[in-house]
Amino acid sequence: MKILYFAWLRERLNRGEEEVSPPAEVQTVGQLIGWLRSRDEAADLAMQKPEIIKAAIDAKIVKHDAMIAGAKVVALFPPMTGG
């Protein structure tokens, strides 16, 4: 699946997107964030407060307990500051 990063998360990771293949036991968005942190020091630091990271699956906002099975694109981003 493709992961998209935005705003300061993108800057701290130095990439806007990446292709990943998480193992089968990674089932939710929260677990995906944990797995991304476990494999990369920059990701670990950037998401050290995972509770503030927002997520969307296939362009629909979801909570951290949402299942990622079948997802094509998972977006991770900081709280939004539009308007």
Partner: protein
């Protein structure tokens, strides 16, 4: 088009006039325009809005439909820019049309409160000291909860 995401500048007055060209059944129209602020004591050279366009389109569509249904609006338009903007330039414009003023005002406030917290835009300010991401404002969350 009732929802527009664009990088190009827009003319707030021209947009308002276009919106007001068709007003059957309406007694009230409200226009809100959000601008790039540069406080003289804390100047900003430019404001860059990052956007996730696919999600922004779906979120704006949802918020727009909710506002129409909840306040009985006759019409509503949301224009939101992204990319690099300069001080004083319009960022966002929300326009509502309703039979009476209460619904037009409330609908515009509802749309802006949800845009602040639920639309995938991130503001980055270029200042004389360097660039910084605008922090999410807790007051915006509180403003939104009054509609829940």
């Amino acid at each position: 088009m009732s929802i527009r995401l664009q990088t190009e500048p827009f003319d707030p007055g021209r947009e308002a006039n276009a919106f007001l060209a068709e007003t059957s059944g309406a007694g009230a129209a409200v226009t809100f325009t959000g601008l790039v602020r540069s406080d003289p004591s804390d100047p900003v050279n430019a404001l860059t809005l990052e956007c996730y366009p696919e999600l922004a389109t779906s979120q704006l569509t949802t918020i727009h439909a909710q506002a129409i249904a909840r306040f009985g609006l006759l019409r509503a338009t949301i224009i939101h820019r992204y990319g690099r903007l300069l001080p004083k330039e319009p960022i966002v414009q929300v326009m509502t049309l309703a039979p009476h003023r209460q619904a037009a005002f409330a609908g515009a406030e509802f749309l802006m409160d949800y845009l602040k917290t639920d639309a995938p835009f991130w503001k980055n300010e270029a200042t004389p000291e360097g660039s910084r991401w605008v922090e999410h404002n807790i007051a915006d969350d509180k403003a939104k909860t009054r509609w829940e």
